[in-house]
C-alpha cells in the first residue's frame, strides 16, 4: 500500500532502534527506574502492539499506554443512558462498532440489540443522518463518541440536519476533550512520566498550541506523533533527544498531517455547535472538569439528552479496578489485581480492558512480548 508501506520499512526501523539505543546509552537515566513515555492516544497503543514495537525498544524505555481510547473511558452510567434511549420502541440507535461491547451496569448495546432494541452499526454520523431521512416515522439517535478527532464530523452532521430540517435526528453527545485529561494526569501527585507522544489525529484538528502548557508549566517533553510504526519510533527518539538535551518543547513529528494551527474549518464547526460541560465522568479517572462537551442551546432540538430527558445515571467504577494507576504509569496492566481474572475482554471490569485500543485489552490479546516471550 503506497503511503503506508514506506512507514513500515523494517530496515529503517532497525536504524532508528540503533539510534535510540545509542542515545539511551549516553543518558543518565534518572529515578533509578526506566524512562516512562506515555502515548496518549489509543491509536498509538494499537500500532505499538500490532507491530510489536515495545519488544524492539531497549529496556531503559517503558511505554505507558494513556487514556486516549474514547470507547474505553466511557463511564458505565453513560452506557446505561445510551441503552435506555436505544430501548425506546421509536428509536433507531446508531453507533460506531467498537462502542457496542462497552459494558453498562445492566447490559451493553450488543446485548440490548439481542433483546430487541434497534441498534445499528454505522461508520460515520452522516450514515445515521441518512437512516433518519429514510425512516421519518422513527427517532434516530447517533451515539456521539470520541475526542476532537470525531467531534467535527458530528458537529457538521448536526449543521447538515439543521439545514435540511431533519426533525427525527439527534445526537447522544459523549464527546470529550483530551487536554484537561492530560492536565489531570500531570496534576496527580504519584505521577511517574518523563515525556509524551501527543495524539496525531486530535492535533490535526486542534493544532499543537494547546499542548504548550505541558512543556512550559509541567516541564515535560511532548512530540505529536503519527500512527505508523516508523512515526512512533521517530517520535520516541525525539522525546529522548529532548530529555538528553534538557529541553521541554512541543514538537511535531506528524507535520505531514498536523498543521501547527490545526484545522480552522473543523474548529469553527466545533465551537459553533458545542460548549464545554462543567465536568464529565471518565471510567477509571473519575470526574474531570471541563473535559466533555454538550450541544449549545441553539441546537437543543438535536440533543438526545434533552429530547428524551435521560436520567443521567452515575455509577462508580468497581473498587478492585486499578485503571487509574495503570494510566498514570504506576503499575503495568498485568500487575493489576484483577487483570485476566475478574477483568477480561469478555467481561471487562475496567476501562482499559474494553476496546482493543485499551492498554489492558491490548496486553491480553496481543500480549506484552517482553513479559510473555522473555521466557523463551
Amino acid at each position: 500500500m503506497k503511503y503506508l508501506d514506506e512507514f513500515r520499512d523494517s530496515a529503517k526501523a532497525r536504524i532508528l532502534v540503533t539510534e535510540i539505543e545509542a542515545l539511551v546509552a549516553t543518558m543518565d537515566v534518572p529515578h533509578g527506574r526506566p524512562l516512562h513515555i506515555m502515548e496518549v492516544c489509543g491509536g498509538h497503543t494499537h500500532s505499538i502492539f500490532r507491530f510489536g514495537i515495545e519488544g524492539m525498544l531497549p529496556k531503559q524505555i517503558e511505554l505507558v499506554h494513556g487514556p486516549g481510547c474514547p470507547v474505553c473511558v466511557l463511564p458505565m452510567g453513560r452506557v446505561d443512558d445510551g441503552v435506555n434511549i436505544a430501548e425506546r420502541p421509536e428509536v433507531i440507535f446508531a453507533t460506531f462498532g467498537d462502542a457496542m461491547r462497552v459494558p453498562g451496569s445492566r447490559k451493553s448495546l450488543i446485548q440490548a440489540k439481542a433483546d430487541g432494541a434497534d441498534v445499528r452499526m454505522v461508520y460515520s454520523p452522516l450514515d445515521a443522518l441518512a437512516i433518519a431521512r429514510k425512516n421519518p416515522a422513527r427517532e434516530v439517535v447517533f451515539f456521539g463518541l470520541g475526542f476532537e478527532t470525531t467531534m467535527p464530523s458530528t458537529a457538521l452532521t448536526i449543521l447538515q440536519a439543521e439545514s435540511e430540517q431533519v426533525a427525527n435526528f439527534s445526537v447522544f453527545c459523549n464527546h470529550i476533550t483530551i487536554v484537561p485529561t492530560i492536565k489531570a494526569i500531570l496534576d496527580s501527585p504519584d505521577l511517574e512520566l518523563d515525556g509524551f507522544l501527543g495524539p496525531g489525529h486530535v492535533s490535526m484538528v486542534i493544532g499543537t498550541a494547546p499542548y504548550e502548557f505541558i512543556a512550559n508549566f509541567y516541564r515535560k517533553p511532548m512530540v505529536v506523533a503519527g500512527f505508523e510504526p516508523l512515526d512512533i519510533l521517530q517520535s520516541i527518539w525525539m522525546v529522548l533527544k529532548q530529555i538528553k538535551e534538557g529541553r521541554t518543547d512541543v514538537e511535531n513529528q506528524y507535520a505531514r498531517v498536523v498543521p501547527d494551527k490545526g484545522n480552522a474549518a473543523a474548529l469553527s464547526a466545533v465551537s459553533r455547535v458545542y460548549e464545554l460541560r462543567q465536568f464529565f465522568e471518565w471510567r477509571g479517572l473519575g470526574s474531570i472538569d471541563h473535559s466533555g462537551v454538550k450541544l449549545r442551546d441553539e441546537y437543543k432540538q438535536f440533543d438526545a439528552e434533552r429530547k428524551f430527558s435521560i436520567p443521567n445515571i452515575k455509577i462508580a467504577d468497581p473498587k478492585s479496578c486499578q485503571c487509574g494507576e495503570v494510566l498514570k504509569g504506576m503499575i503495568k496492566p498485568w500487575q493489576c489485581k484483577v487483570f485476566g481474572s475478574a477483568c477480561t475482554p469478555e467481561m471487562p471490569l475496567g476501562a482499559l480492558m474494553v476496546s482493543s485500543e485499551g492498554a489492558c485489552a491490548a496486553y491480553y490479546q496481543y500480549g506484552g512480548i517482553k513479559q510473555h516471550v522473555a521466557a523463551e
Binding site: 526501523a13 507491530f51 462502542a99 490479546q365
Partner: protein, 355 residues
C-alpha cells in the same frame, strides 16, 4: 454411482406463481410443485428423483474408496445471498465438501435442507438451486436428499441452507490437529481474507467499493493432489470463520506447541490489506471459503508447496510459518516492521474501530 435404484416414473410439478408463500410449506401440492420445479429439476439425479424420505446407498461402493466414513453438517445464513464471487448456494456446497476434504475424505453425497422466508421470489430460489447444482456437478458430488420449509416473514432472513455430507477416508490416512511437531512447516494456498472482506463490502454498510471477490471454491481436488505429493501431512483445515489466526491457535493448543508466522510471507491481496487498514480489522481473522492451512513435516514441505502451486487453486501458495517448541498453545507473528506480537483467539466478532 451405485445408488440403489428406486426409479419410478412420476410427473414433475411446476410452480406458476412469482413468490414463495406459506402454502409452499403446507405439505400439499404447492409444496411438491416447488420442490420438483426448483430443487429436483436443478439437482437432477437418480437417487433424488423418486423423492423417498431417504437416499439409499450400496455399502460396497463406500468400501471401494476406503475404510472409514466422514460425516459432516453445516448451516449457511450468509447476508447478502448473492455476493461477488458466489452466492449462498455455491457456499453451501463448497463449505460441506471442504469440511469433508480437510479430513482427507473423498466427498460423495450431500443433503440439502432449505428454510425459506415467505415472500422470496421463485426466480431467486431457482438461481440459488442452479448454483448449487453447478457447483456439485463440477465437484463430482451429488445432492441426494433434502427438505424444504417455508416460514413466516421475519422468522428467518430470506433463505437458510443446511448441507450435510458423506465421504470416505482411504485406509491408513491419519490427520489431526494434535499431530503438529516442532520443525513442521505451515502452508496456505493463496490470498487470505478475501471471503470475509467481500461479504463485509457486499453488505454495503460502509459505502466502500472494492473489486474483492469471495474465494469460495471446493478444495477436495487440491487436497487430493497435496496429500499425494506429501503423504506425511499432519493436519489440514479450512480457515473459515475466525480465519487463519483461529485455526493456528487451535493447532498450537491441541498439539501443545508454539507456532510462529511471518507477516511478510502471508499472502494478502492489496485490496484486502487496504480494506482492513481503513476499518481497523485484522485480515488474519477474516473468513476464507477457498483456503487451506496445511501442517507438513519439513522434509515434505517443498513437495507439498510444489503440488499446491501446480493446482489452479494454489498458484499463490506460500510457507507462512513454522512450528516451534516454545510456549505451548502460543501463536506469534514476526511483524513486517521487525517486531513480534502474539496472535490470540478473538473474543467475539471483530468490530471496526472508531478512529
Amino acid at each position: 454411482m451405485n445408488i440403489v435404484p428406486l426409479i419410478r416414473s412420476r410427473p414433475r410439478g411446476k410452480v406458476h406463481v412469482r413468490t414463495v408463500t406459506l402454502s409452499h410449506g403446507g405439505g400439499g401440492k404447492a409444496m411438491k410443485d416447488l420442490i420438483d420445479d426448483v430443487f429436483v429439476d436443478a439437482f437432477d439425479n437418480a437417487a433424488l428423483a423418486p423423492l423417498e424420505d431417504q437416499a439409499r446407498f450400496d455399502l460396497a461402493e463406500f468400501a471401494a474408496y476406503g475404510d472409514r466414513l466422514a460425516f459432516t453438517t453445516d448451516s449457511f445464513v450468509v447476508d447478502p445471498l448473492f455476493f461477488p464471487g458466489g452466492d449462498i448456494g455455491k457456499l453451501a456446497i463448497c463449505g460441506t465438501i471442504n469440511d469433508l476434504a480437510v479430513g482427507g475424505a473423498k466427498p460423495l453425497y450431500l443433503s440439502c435442507a432449505a428454510i425459506v422466508e415467505e415472500g422470496m421470489t421463485i426466480d431467486m430460489l431457482r438461481q440459488i438451486a442452479g448454483s448449487m447444482a453447478r457447483t456439485a456437478k463440477t465437484a463430482g458430488v451429488e445432492i441426494v436428499t433434502g427438505d424444504t420449509k417455508v416460514v413466516q416473514r421475519g422468522a428467518c432472513d430470506k433463505l437458510f441452507l443446511t448441507t450435510t455430507g458423506i465421504g470416505v477416508i482411504r485406509e491408513g490416512l491419519v490427520l489431526g490437529a494434535d499431530l503438529a511437531r516442532p520443525g513442521d512447516v505451515v502452508l496456505v494456498n493463496g490470498f487470505l481474507g478475501d471471503h470475509g472482506a467481500a461479504i463485509l463490502c457486499a453488505r454495503g454498510d460502509m459505502a466502500l467499493e472494492t473489486p474483492i471477490e469471495s474465494d469460495c471454491a471446493p478444495l477436495h481436488s487440491l487436497i487430493e493432489s497435496v496429500l499425494a505429493a506429501a503423504p506425511g501431512i499432519r493436519f489440514l483445515r479450512d480457515p473459515t470463520r475466525g480465519g487463519v489466526a483461529t485455526v493456528l491457535n487451535e493447532i498450537a493448543e491441541a498439539s501443545q506447541v508454539a507456532i510462529e508466522i511471518d507477516e511478510a510471507a502471508t499472502p494478502l491481496r492489496e485490496e484486502v490489506k487496504a480494506f482492513c487498514e481503513i476499518l481497523g480489522l485484522d485480515p488474519l481473522y477474516l473468513a476464507n471459503e477457498g483456503k487451506i492451512v496445511v501442517i507438513v513435516p519439513p522434509e515434505q514441505a517443498p513437495a507439498a508447496l510444489a503440488a499446491m502451486r501446480a493446482h489452479p487453486l494454489g498458484a499463490l501458495a506460500a510457507v507462512i510459518g513454522r512450528v516451534h517448541v516454545g510456549e505451548p498453545g502460543r501463536v506469534i507473528m514476526s511483524t513486517v516492521f521487525g517486531g513480534r506480537r502474539i496472535v490470540d483467539m478473538l473474543v467475539g466478532e471483530q468490530l471496526p474501530r472508531i478512529c
